[in-house]
Subunit: 301 residues, 2 copies
């Protein structure tokens, strides 16, 4: 089984390492030649629970040179997806593809692939890239995989990597429900931690932030009533407490001066709500603040 | 004419200097003995438009020792007002009092004074304290004064200081209208500049912040329809452009790690709206974010 993992950020490296650990033949597709060379020469260095392991994988920055795999895992950020897909037809053509982006903005893009050759996943791991080819696994959460057809045959080989440290779950719900649930959680946690400059735990502790999350949750459930049982406010506070010391990806992006996934995460829910005639004033306020701060930093930085 | 100016922050010092300049006998009432001594010894140093002038005024940190004036101008922050009023009965008893606090939280407190001896003012100057007794006048805007009775006789002597650099306006509207208009402008400008970490001008330029202000303005006007002609969105954008380089007081408080006036400014509008059964979701989101950041900084700092 040969898997191309495209995108060598924290999540891509984590997945590459865990799949290699399970005996799959992994090739990383990176954005820069420098990173590909580093990974080819030194492997992926994974640290987890104080242990460090190195996994040998192949790597290239040339999608056209990557060659076909049995499966392509797309682990880049949502905003990098379209460019990659356009440049990598040779890798993706005729191959099963697993999209791991946050938000829902990639659903239309994925619809250009044959329905039985795409799957969508949500990732709840905490991971931090610590070098070109090194990653720290800071929190374990399932990768849930969902297909449009309910048929998982292309993706079953991934289950070889399923373990308590790297749980893989074949989801019963369709991709839309799965991605919407994840996007709602992201909307509740990411912009608030980024704007208030706090780790996840504070959202469950600080009275003002608890109250903000409560109103934001009510708004979201009013706009998406079908999610009321899937994403509960108590569940979100629980998640914040369990990941209390985590820096959310959006706060990390702020702190590192990187582009955030605000468009994919908040933008897609705002559009969906608009289509339904629902208003999300709290989320809109958060989104505008994040966008303006991001723009200011990218300009000034 | 003897005026006690209580509160020697940027606005208190500016007013003390401008009144002294007009020939009024000014005594500053400061919070610390150190500041009173500095002002007694060195006067108030006012810099404006590149010029620097020093004005000799009296100063004390002991309200009980201040003695009666013909007029007391209360220029401390809203959150310091109650403590001062309780400690300064001798200064305030039987004297005309001008309240200059932001927000509307001080209206109930002021109602314990005889109706014809209180006035309320809104301040639109930009000023920055640069030392114990020195202040930089960074932007000129009117001080509007309003009384409950429509009678201004106690306050007319202040008009001696009226000038293009320090305009004093006797307002036709009652205090409630005047303070509500100012509080709405503060709610539109202060929390957004503080959270997005931008000077006023950006609110009129950045597309995301313009859009945020637009929605916040709609919410406020829906809750307070009587203000629709007094506080227009265009007027607010104009104000932002005219004060483009100004750091709002709330952003300055954030940057200096000081307590903000969030409670007086946003808290009082949120309460008022609640009384009317109106909801202000955008303002609530901003308020919760400011409160949590403020709490985090005051705790950690």
């Amino acid at each position: 089984m040969r898997v191309n993992v495209a995108g060598a950020g924290a999540i891509g490296l984590l997945i590459g390492a865990r799949l290699a650990e399970a005996g799959l033949k992994v090739q990383m597709i990176t954005r820069t030649a420098e990173q590909a060379a580093a990974i080819r020469n030194e492997g992926i260095r994974l640290s987890a629970n104080g242990d460090e392991q190195v996994f040998v994988v192949d790597a290239t920055s040339q999608p056209r040179a990557a060659g076909e795999g049995d499966l392509a895992v797309l682990a880049m950020k949502s905003y990098d997806l379209e460019r990659f897909v356009k440049s990598a037809e040779e890798v993706l053509d005729g191959t099963a593809v697993l999209f791991l982006q946050n938000g829902m903005a990639h659903l239309p893009l994925a619809s250009s692939f044959p329905e039985d050759q795409v799957a969508f996943g949500t990732v709840e791991h905490g991971a931090q890239r610590t070098g070109l080819g090194s990653v720290k696994h800071t929190g374990t959460g399932p990768i849930r995989i969902s297909t449009l057809t309910g048929n998982f045959r292309h993706y079953l080989p991934l289950l070889a990597a399923d373990s308590p440290a790297f749980p893989l779950v074949l989801a019963e719900q369709g991709p839309r429900h799965l991605l919407l649930a994840k996007a709602m959680k992201n909307c509740l946690i990411n912009p608030v931690t980024a704007l208030a400059n706090v780790r996840n735990g504070k959202l469950a502790e600080d009275p003002a932030l608890r109250s903000l999350l409560g109103r934001l949750h009510s708004e979201l459930v009013e706009a998406f009533p079908e999610m009321a049982h899937t994403v509960t406010l108590d569940g979100v506070f629980d998640l914040c407490s369990k990941t209390a010391d985590n820096t959310s990806s959006m706060l990390a992006d702020f702190l590192e001066g990187r582009k955030t996934e605000s468009e994919a995460i908040m933008g897609s829910l705002l559009s969906l709500a608009k289509e339904r005639g629902a208003s999300l004033p709290t989320l809109e306020a958060l989104s505008d603040l994040v966008l303006s701060i991001e723009r200011g930093r990218l300009w000034n930085g």
